[in-house]
Symmetry: D2
Subunit: 456 residues, 4 copies
């Protein structure tokens, strides 16, 4: 028996391939799915089963493409209509060699969510592990806001799925969720990728809540649902073009890249670090640092405009394109060959953004300089570590709040590590705000400095 | 927090690297240890701690080399004298960021064996996992025959370590042992690499035994201890040359290879498949197929003779050399460039061994052909699936039993899949037995055929 | 300016990618063509031009697939009808940055063969190199037998193309041909992959011949044209399915593999070494060792039967499949998971072939044992190093000569290194010859032994 | 016969490995020399000969380490004293299979420079290629200023070596030099890596000069010799520590990194892009962008201070360390884990540098803003494309010219693509110049804009 975790870097997505006796199954495959076939081959196994724990809203499933590649069957919960695959119900089992999978229906995160228990029948019929999808994370539980019309119902169902279906499997059961730290689908999952029901029972705050408390908390808590979620759900229920058929982004020199901007309205997406973007960037480009891609890109990108990438190097452009593809954005058609050096070397104009460190920001505020600190962290973060005096507008809401911002004032974009601040600064520049600066630093560092200086 | 399992292919050895907050620890590193430094670097962490759960007898530890490379400290159980590192005692703890390790002394497999519990203090001080070394495997427990003078004592200690120290940690605790399936250190561990104390409590046959039964069973059970075990223990207590300083085996053409055999008594070690060895091999060479290396090589190889490798291709020679190095055999000085094709192409003489399939073997026995089926499986395997009429001599004992075999009879070497049979056949040819054949097939297949034919 | 040589391992095919100023061109791309796009990307260049020096007969061109992937234009000689691309004529030039290509028409190997000169206009308009396709090799010239109806005419044209078109370019010009050592398209090219017109003028025996002598020699010389040549020409003129859409061979266990043989007439293609095939193989399988694939596979494989692969390991099966694909054989649907060990372990019957070394063969012939040495080398090889007493039947002709062979006699297959001999032995076994053996050794070694023994 | 070119990225250094008959030779190996052994192994060959065409001044030779690894002999010109290896003389030959090497003494670049001709004796005793070291480049010839006391003599010898020793080998001979484009050892070599003596005869400007003209030109021409050249010569004559024994730079978090700066005077070397450095960098750090490393690092780095690296990612830090090591700088002991994001996230202060594009610079000069354009290109570049009004100080001379610069004026650093300008800006900031800016753009683009605006 083998089991391997496959990560989708940039999405904090965890998928699983495992097998025995020459057969293999995959849980929640990512869109670039060749890797599963390669692993199976290296294990001398054929992929025969693909399971979707639920209709994913944050990435494009590779189930259809993997099925076409391998001939495997696709299975998902029966309680939602898909254009492909087979709906499964409570108690259905699937055998691969000595390994056995059993479906448990766990509605809550979505109406048709399922979990799958894994047994090693050489030792016991009882499960040794459970694939929990977006129902139970390590240190967290799934969100329940994605079907707004059913929210009340789903919250209750999630509580019941957790406490009546999953926890009774036993403390000894290892859990394999669909996401780790840094996912848009969970609020505060652990950075640790291994746990058991027993350990979660003792330490997962969401499991410690009473039914009433759990429901109240979930209905109250803030969740962000970027616009692409609805597109993902559609793709994942209906299907999406095969990756194998997508053209690759072409390297273009500065002249051609500039022409594409001027003549075809190319959307320039700059995935470099905040420092590099601040130093020099193509005017009106959108900054989304590669490290923040999975959490942010879906908020600001359209599906219907051609995208041109600016990256530190060709590998980063390729990575950005992969991340985009995993979210169904198949519209990155080119990247700037040679990066910004090629652009500046061709004598093209560029923009820059002044950067501010913690000490300097504190100093300016201390002398009451006339500036607006635009804090683009979430309400929750803001509540935990206030950045007063400032205005808090969650980065995802910024595009719709631009008109409410003062055009005459200097604005310093602020977040927890500069990555969302640089996005905000790029959005402000796009909207013709002229006095934009960016704070490169953390909220914690700023707070610490504030306190130490006050004390001094 | 991150945790990665590092395999030492060919030894079924599992080692672990994990860390948090920029620091990392390694448990039971393998000798080719650059990989740990690479993983740590990719995680932005420094290796600060190296733990040896016990003095390994089946592979050379990389602790010293890794310590020299990284500046980390080495820790091991205090109850055995090492020439390096620091002895630790029950309850000592080590922190890396939010992660905490705690020593539990678990004598039994060796007098100084320790286990280490792992806590994620963001969530709980209670352990979420335990590194069990050779004390507890998945589906099995450690062997207790390696300190013969202390055997009685160690068996009892092992029982107590398991039931008083490890199991009380709780059903929810994940276990990370030092070996998986196919190790010489365990008898029947699971092929599965994930489990918990709770699942083991329910399904591990060694944990189900009463104290008395456990002791009786362990004292009775058959274990094989290849000669190199004692060398390993010495290396691991005293240190061994750094891998970085070892010369690599050189490719030599057929002429030079033949000259090394004739003039310098080169020991030819052929790591090709049983079929290829049977088809043609250098006279007097020793066959140990690469797939069987970890379990078998230590039985037949000397530390003091120069070894020349014959492999299907250069990568296989490199792999064989790596496997040898992991067992402290640093005496592979050359390999045959171009493999057997180069040898035969140079017009050199070769030997071959007739191969027999299940049907043919059954037929011959049925007509009472005058042959000896030499079954080189273990006593236990022989007891489970008898291969009558035959003689059972465990492959490890064969070199000392050669004189007892008839020289005039045709001998067909027999095992469970041809790999030990071909080793046996090569040993017989080395000892000038002239009528040697090899059964390529499994014991199960042979048995099935025997039964079906009798029924017919 | 950059230039890289891309090899198609197993076909001795050399292709080229080069470029300047952000553009790149490819000469004679192989079918698995992603590599050219990757190289171009790493150089910050777009592939804009693809040239076919001629309609290849020994491999499937990747021109169409690469064009679809990159948007590049395809160019070939105008004197043959293709279903795609643009015909070019003498003197047409193509610029990529400072690099310039110029077409010279060089009929001979095929009616529409072209060569392309390369100039670096930073330094000179004169060419620094020439891509010679199959017109001029290093140490050899193209063959002229592939359009039998036009053979006389093509021989003369080749002479003229060489002496009036290519050689006048100047001694200083580097040559980049489409094949190296071990190609079916050349007889005796050098193993060296670098040369110039000046060095060839001095040392290439084909260039030293007078017009008359050249023509006579070419009309006389023996060339083998495997059946798949005509299929290749058709594919390359009309197009072939995209690699991206081909299913991959599936690993199948011994039971399924056996069922496919029994029930669906699966053709078993064994790509292991001669020694391994001799030791044990699936009955009636065809042996073509991976090292000999490019030269031999096309002679014995049909396009219309499903192929099952047996290899030493999964990577070798993948390599065999790649080699097949490069020759347009898209019918390898499965491979035996676990190789022969899985087959024998399942108790399946196998066949073997006794192996003979040089000493033993000489001994048997010396004592006039009743055997037929079946020498499957070419007539030319046989003439150079006779293997008397023996019968010479070129391996490619063997399938049609089987009826002429004696069924009652022991037959020892013989060649220059065992690779063709094992193919022959497998063909004989398929045809129910029962007393087949194989000589593993070289013709030279055998000859040397014969001489030394006679002298003694 | 095989031949492969091995590049030392970042140094524009070309080395060669080739062989035949199971033996291989290496010309001018780089310090990280495992690659040669790997190539040889993959070709089934042993490295038996290592040649140094001369005592390199711009990189550390790997000859000694490769010899220790493989047992090969080292050969170099006899006319300089080395502490290792064997001196060779005109006409000495070395055979490897059918391949033959012959020494020709070619003093000029250094007193003991040699070239080696390569013959393929299967075809001819005449050479097909020549390894020209630093004597003849593609499009250029070696420099003669590195032994100042012998300069007059060496210039004449170089002319004679080129015209009496190398060119007479014949137009058809392929040349393999020790450097390509972007080397400090050549002024204007071609970007093309393939040429012949015949093509060079026609197009290499240095070969077109008369003896008198050649000598005058070489004595007149500007060459820069960074301080590390003398250290390299010493290392290469006397030996240097083995790479295998060097410790690797450790990742350090922002706290530890800052402590190393404050307490141990760590020299911070920032290898990120000019844009990123301009955006934010650790105060007083030295900028040398990775793309410019080989040409620039040797000018500004000491051998006796500990270096801490700041890079975009860990791979870049590893690459910088490799580049440093190739120049004998073994003093990079740590790198900033997590890069600048970790630094800013920890609330550390940083500096930045305003960036200026071509349009803006032109505008400022047009309105006669009070600024100094500090042009750090070479005299030759400055002469070709003047950047008036400005001051020209070659970047290599800047550290010694700082006192001559005005401290009260705004200074805009200017070069051909921003890479040297950012180095200059970092040097100015280190020296407490407070009003430093950097022009990101090319000299050509600036010139073009200047002309077009004047015209308008």
């Amino acid at each position: 028996m083998f089991l391997e975790i496959v990560h989708a870097e940039g999405l904090s997505h965890l998928s699983y391939i495992f097998g025995d006796g020459g057969k293999a199954a995959v849980i929640d495959p990512r869109r670039d799915c060749k890797i599963y076939a390669d692993i199976a081959n290296s294990r001398g196994a054929r992929i025969t089963h693909i399971f979707e724990t639920h209709c994913h809203e944050d990435f494009v499933s590779g189930a259809l493409e993997l099925a076409r590649r391998t001939g495997a069957e696709i299975y998902h919960g029966h309680a939602l209509a898909f254009r492909y695959g087979t709906g499964v119900r409570e108690g259905e089992t699937f055998d691969l060699g000595n390994l056995s999978l059993k479906v448990i229906e766990t509605p809550g995160h979505t109406p048709e969510s399922i979990c799958l228990t894994l047994s090693d029948r050489v030792y016991s019929e009882r499960p040794v592990a459970v694939f929990t999808g977006d129902t139970l994370f390590i240190g967290d539980a799934g969100r329940t806001d994605l079907f707004p019309a059913m929210r009340d119902e789903l919250v209750e169902k999630l509580y019941d799925s957790l406490h009546r279906k999953i926890m009774p499997l036993g403390d000894h059961v290892i859990i394999y969720p669909a996401h780790g730290e840094g996912s848009v689908c969970a609020k505060k999952p652990a950075s640790r990728e291994f746990s058991t029901l027993g350990f979660e029972r003792q330490s997962n705050p969401m499991l410690a809540r009473s039914r009433k408390d759990f429901i109240q908390h979930n209905l109250w808590e803030e969740h962000h649902a970027p616009p692409y979620f609805w597109q993902m759900q559609k793709f994942n229920r209906e299907g999406i073009p095969l990756v194998a058929k997508l053209p690759e982004p072409k390297p273009e020199n500065a002249e051609n890249f500039a022409a594409a901007i001027d003549q075809h309205g190319l959307l320039v997406l700059d995935v470099r670090s905040p420092e590099a973007f601040a130093g020099a960037h193509i005017p009106d480009s959108l900054s989304i640092p590669l490290d923040r891609f999975s959490l942010m890109a879906g908020w600001f990108l359209p599906y219907d405009r051609t995208i041109g990438l600016v990256a530190e190097r060709a590998e980063d452009a390729a990575k950005a394109r992969l991340f985009l593809m995993r979210m169904g954005f198949d519209n990155a058609s080119m990247y700037l060959a040679g990066g910004m050096t090629a652009w500046t070397g061709a004598g093209k104009s560029f923009a820059s953004i002044p950067t501010v460190d913690a000490e300097e920001l504190r100093r300016r505020i201390a002398i009451r300089e006339d500036l607006l600190v635009l804090d683009v962290r979430s309400r929750t973060e803001y509540a935990e570590i206030p950045s007063d005096p400032s205005q808090n507008t969650w980065i995802g809401d910024l595009p719709r709040q631009l008109n409410a911002l003062p055009r005459d004032k200097k604005i310093v974009a602020f977040c927890s590590n500069g990555q969302r601040a640089i996005i905000a600064a790029s959005l402000l520049q796009q909207a013709n705000f002229r006095r934009v600066e960016v704070y490169l630093g953390s909220d914690k560092a700023y707070k610490a400095l504030q306190i130490s200086k006050k004390a001094a």
